[in-house]
């Protein structure tokens, strides 16, 4: 139905950056034009608004937890309430913020533009994926309001299947539904990247963001069905008492962990790979330089996607899993750490002999490299079997996970939002406030999560409503950090919203960046992304900030 509204002849002159020029934002008005849109950019905006709602909800849960943990005694909430808080925090942040964040917002907005086409391969399926997400999200909120769930986001059986007396079934349905939205997004990206690249956009001319989205989509399509199956089995046992996981019914609780982590370990890469793609774009742009080791970064994404599927057992070293199985899983996990290290080195090397400037996206990107390095290295601690026996299920795990997910993915998301904000909305955010808040976020983050490494090695178990007095000092630090971190995020949301109306109008390419979205599409782009009649033909590699010159640099290498 919306195709009628999407094809007005562009009456504004394409060269004027403001005024009456038709963009995807003003192409049509009214709620119907948004809720029934099939424009990938409008769907990206819908996703942006909805994931921000979930981010605020999940963040509120986190702040309430940190308030409880300010003191060793469990004095603010009942134990059960606290357990619900960390469960809802995990469920909301993972399934409704982290997994969809970069793919569904930046990916949706950028993938078609970056490959040089008008929309994703299946625009209506794209809209469907948003509706599925909203239904799943509404179901989760319904569960949260009507009593919550207290199993932890990992839903370990038989606690979840037999013993918990909270709404496990409702949450299972919600997560099950939401899974399909990521499957559909992944499918759309895979087909779009395979079939709709503009003439000349060969695989090795693609921006690394596309490689990352492609690798992510593979995991979404291959991994998410296993999560769906696991949840169905859990539901069958919970509702119909069919023995699958509970030994009292003849089931095997460790089987649940195998199935759950078969999805949930790769899911960690669903959450971090797109962030790595964003970082590559930002680093290249703010170094004004060709990405160092382009092919290695591209293939490392695929390597992570593939190896990521064979390491799930590293979550189960002390579960009773055979020691020999653990041995193999530990070994494979070491291998999956390598491509991440390769990326970090390549990003750093890209700065070398470039022209580095520190606008907000770059601050986030550099912050990402540091925090992700720590997050990745501490992941190795957990994969080392003899050490995991001590730190498993302690705050060390919590800290590691948040260094990767917040220090990594959220920083990348923030960097990406700042980078492409003017492209999406045609207005600039206020630069110096943004730089300041990025520092606030960075400081707040480290205050929140670094103490948790120490707490973990000291032996404080995760998911503890009350804890021993000797852990209190570090917990106070962590809670104080969380309030700084929260302030940083709130400031960001405020000036972003402010800029929509009062921000400086953005030109087409404010960063002087390379890439179709900057060089060929106006800010914000029209409904079909490029100016009417413009045929996209790609003639150069990604990141063509520099060109092969005789005196180009000592590390120059004859590649292709």
């Amino acid at each position: 139905m919306s195709s009628t509204v999407l094809s007005p002849s562009a009456k504004a002159s394409p060269s004027s950056p403001e005024g009456e020029r038709k963009t995807f934002l003003n192409a049509d008005y009214g709620w119907k034009s948004w809720l029934f849109t099939v424009d990938h950019k409008r769907i990206a905006v819908l996703y942006l608004i909805s994931i921000m709602v979930f981010f605020l909800i999940g963040g509120t849960f986190a702040l309430l937890m940190r308030a409880e943990l300010l003191t060793a005694k469990g004095d603010l909430f009942e134990a059960e309430t606290y357990n619900k808080l960390f469960t809802m925090h995990g469920v909301v942040m993972i399934f409704f913020f982290l997994v969809p964040s970069i793919p569904a917002v930046l990916g949706n907005f950028l993938v078609p533009i970056m490959v040089g086409t008008k929309d994703l391969a299946f625009p209506k399926i794209n809209l469907l994926s948003w509706y599925i997400y909203i239904v799943g999200g509404a179901a989760t909120l319904f569960v949260a309001i009507t009593g919550g769930i207290d199993t932890g986001w990992t839903f370990y059986a038989p606690y979840s299947s037999t013993y918990a007396n909270t709404n496990v079934a409702g949450t299972a349905v919600a997560v099950f539904i939401t899974g399909f939205s990521s499957i559909l997004t992944g499918l759309n990206f895979i087909v779009t990247i395979h079939k709709m690249r503009a003439p000349g956009m060969t695989w090795f001319r693609m921006p690394l963001f596309l490689w990352a989205q492609y690798a992510t989509s593979l995991i979404m399509v291959l991994g998410t069905p296993v999560l769906a199956i696991t949840i169905v089995l859990l539901g069958l046992e919970r509702v119909f008492h069919i023995g699958i996981f509970d030994p009292a019914l003849g089931g095997d609780p460790v089987l649940f962990q195998h199935l759950f982590w078969f999805y949930s370990h790769p899911a960690v890469y669903i959450m971090i790979l797109p962030g790595m793609g964003v970082i590559s774009e930002i680093i290249a742009c703010f170094s004004k330089k060709r990405m160092f080791g382009y092919h290695f970064i591209a293939f490392s994404s695929l390597a992570i996607a593939i190896f990521g599927f064979v390491v799930w057992g590293h979550h189960m070293f002390v579960s009773g899993q055979s020691a020999y199985a653990s041995f193999v899983f530990s070994f494979l996990t070491m291998l999956v750490a390598i491509p991440s290290a390769v990326k970090v080195f390549n990003w750093t090397a890209t700065l070398y002999k470039g022209q580095v400037s520190l606008e907000t996206p770059m601050l986030y990107a550099l912050g990402f490299i540091g925090l992700f390095t720590i997050g990745g290295l501490t992941g190795v601690f957990l994969a080392v079997m003899g050490l995991d026996r001590h730190v498993h299920d302690t705050y060390f795990v919590v800290a590691h996970f948040h260094y990767v997910m917040v220090g990594g993915m959220v920083m990348a998301f923030m960097g990406g939002m700042h980078f492409w904000w003017s492209k999406m909305f045609g207005r600039k955010y206020p630069e110096w406030i943004a730089q300041f808040s990025s520092v606030v976020v960075f400081v707040g983050f480290n205050f929140t999560f670094f103490p948790q490494f120490l707490l973990g090695y000291m032996g404080m178990p995760r998911r503890y409503h009350q804890y021993n007095a000797e852990f209190e000092v570090l917990n106070v630090l962590s809670s104080a950090g969380a309030s700084i971190l929260g302030t940083g995020f709130l400031m960001t949301i405020c000036y972003f919203i402010w800029s929509l109306k009062w921000g400086q109008v953005a030109e087409r390419n404010p960063w002087g960046a390379k890439g179709l979205e900057w060089e060929r599409a106006p800010s914000p782009p029209p409904t079909f992304n490029f100016e009417d009649g413009e045929r996209i033909v790609v003639t150069e590699d990604a990141y063509a900030y520099t060109h092969e010159e005789p005196h180009g640099g000592s590390l120059q290498e004859a590649r292709k």
Binding site: Y352, K353, Q355, V380, F381, E557
Partner: protein, 324 residues
């Protein structure tokens, strides 16, 4: 000040120091790389500022040599970590043969322990110093995890199966015991203390712990009370296999497969006898004892079967420490 913010728990078991050593190695490697990356970022950012005079970007595609170096070095380092960690893990996983045998049952939200000599305690565990202790653990409901930070070890306690852990305390004192696997509302209250006593104090403690029967004695009593003995005996034509001296040996099943008669097998045969019937006996003849025996009873029966018919080998519970 430094004392107020300790960076590791006390080292109170033989494997605590090796774990800390491995940890320090990883911390050192991580700190090196985190610093290296940070310094490079700061130096490059400062040196190649965009607003430097005559700023241009060099055209650099990459360097295969560098890629090999920064793939190879992390690979080598992680392989060292992997090997070191695996060796340590197998030490943590394999109890010495002469270990004292404790049993632990977890339930929402308490830890029940029983000593080799039969004394029971809840949420506490008293052990002698310098003696390897082996815990055979199971859960009556959900998954728990027995975690003693000062010993640097933990093991999940899973319903429907036995898991094991062991440690040898080498420092007198009282240490925290935590449940590390989230198990429901009072998860954070499923905690206790492990007290390491001298040999002498341990014996005094045992003497004051109430004179109860040993697990093996309890098992022997149950073996009659539950009428196991009416079928499992050595008379000709007995309806079940004789169990004397069988624990720890292999049995041939009706399926033709062989099975090790261990704790898991005994447990399964009590609860689900038809699953693996010994060759020569009728499948399905023995009724299930599901619902009639508690986890503690099964543990007692296992303790009894370990000693049954092997009296010569079990002169006394091992107290020496010939561990490695």
């Amino acid at each position: 000040m430094w004392k107020d913010l300790p960076l590791h728990p006390e080292q109170a078991s033989t494997l605590a120091q090796p774990v800390d050593l491995l940890y320090l190695f990883l911390v050192a490697v991580s700190a090196f790389f985190a610093l290296l990356i940070s310094v490079l970022i700061v130096v490059f950012t400062a040196k190649y500022r965009k607003d430097r005079p005559n700023a241009t970007s060099a055209h650099i595609e990459g360097s295969t040599l560098l890629e090999i170096v920064w793939t190879g070095i992390p690979l080598g380092l992680t392989m060292i970590m992997f090997g070191w960690g695996a060796v340590l893990f197998f030490q943590q996983a394999r109890p010495p043969a002469n270990a004292l045998e404790f049993t632990v049952t977890g339930k929402q939200w308490m830890w029940k322990a029983q000593h080799p000599t039969g004394q029971r305690e809840i949420n506490d565990l008293h052990i002698p110093i310098g003696v390897p202790c082996r815990l055979t653990m199971t859960s009556e409901d959900v998954i728990h995890s027995y975690f003693i930070p000062a010993f640097r070890t933990k093991q999940d306690v899973v319903p429907g199966r036995y898991s094991q852990m062991w440690f040898e305390a080498n420092k007198l004192g009282t240490y925290d015991l935590f449940c590390a696997e989230y198990c429901g509302t009072k998860h954070s209250q499923m905690i206790g203390k492990v007290t390491v006593l001298s040999q002498k104090d341990y014996e005094v403690w045992l003497a004051g712990g109430g004179s109860s029967e040993t697990p093996a004695q309890a098992g022997e009593r149950l073996f009659s009370a539950l009428r196991c003995i009416t079928c499992h005996n050595n008379t000709a034509g007995a309806r079940g296999p004789d169990l004397a001296g069988k624990f720890g040996t292999e049995a041939l099943l009706t399926s033709g497969a062989k099975v090790m008669i261990d704790a898991e097998y005994v447990r399964e045969s009590i609860l689900n006898p038809a699953a693996k019937t010994v060759n020569g006996f009728q499948v399905g003849l023995m009724p299930t004892y599901q619902g009639q025996v508690k986890e503690d009873d099964i543990l007692a029966l296992i303790a009894y079967l370990k000693t049954f018919g092997a009296a010569k080998a079990a002169a006394s519970p091992a107290t020496g420490n010939a561990a490695k």
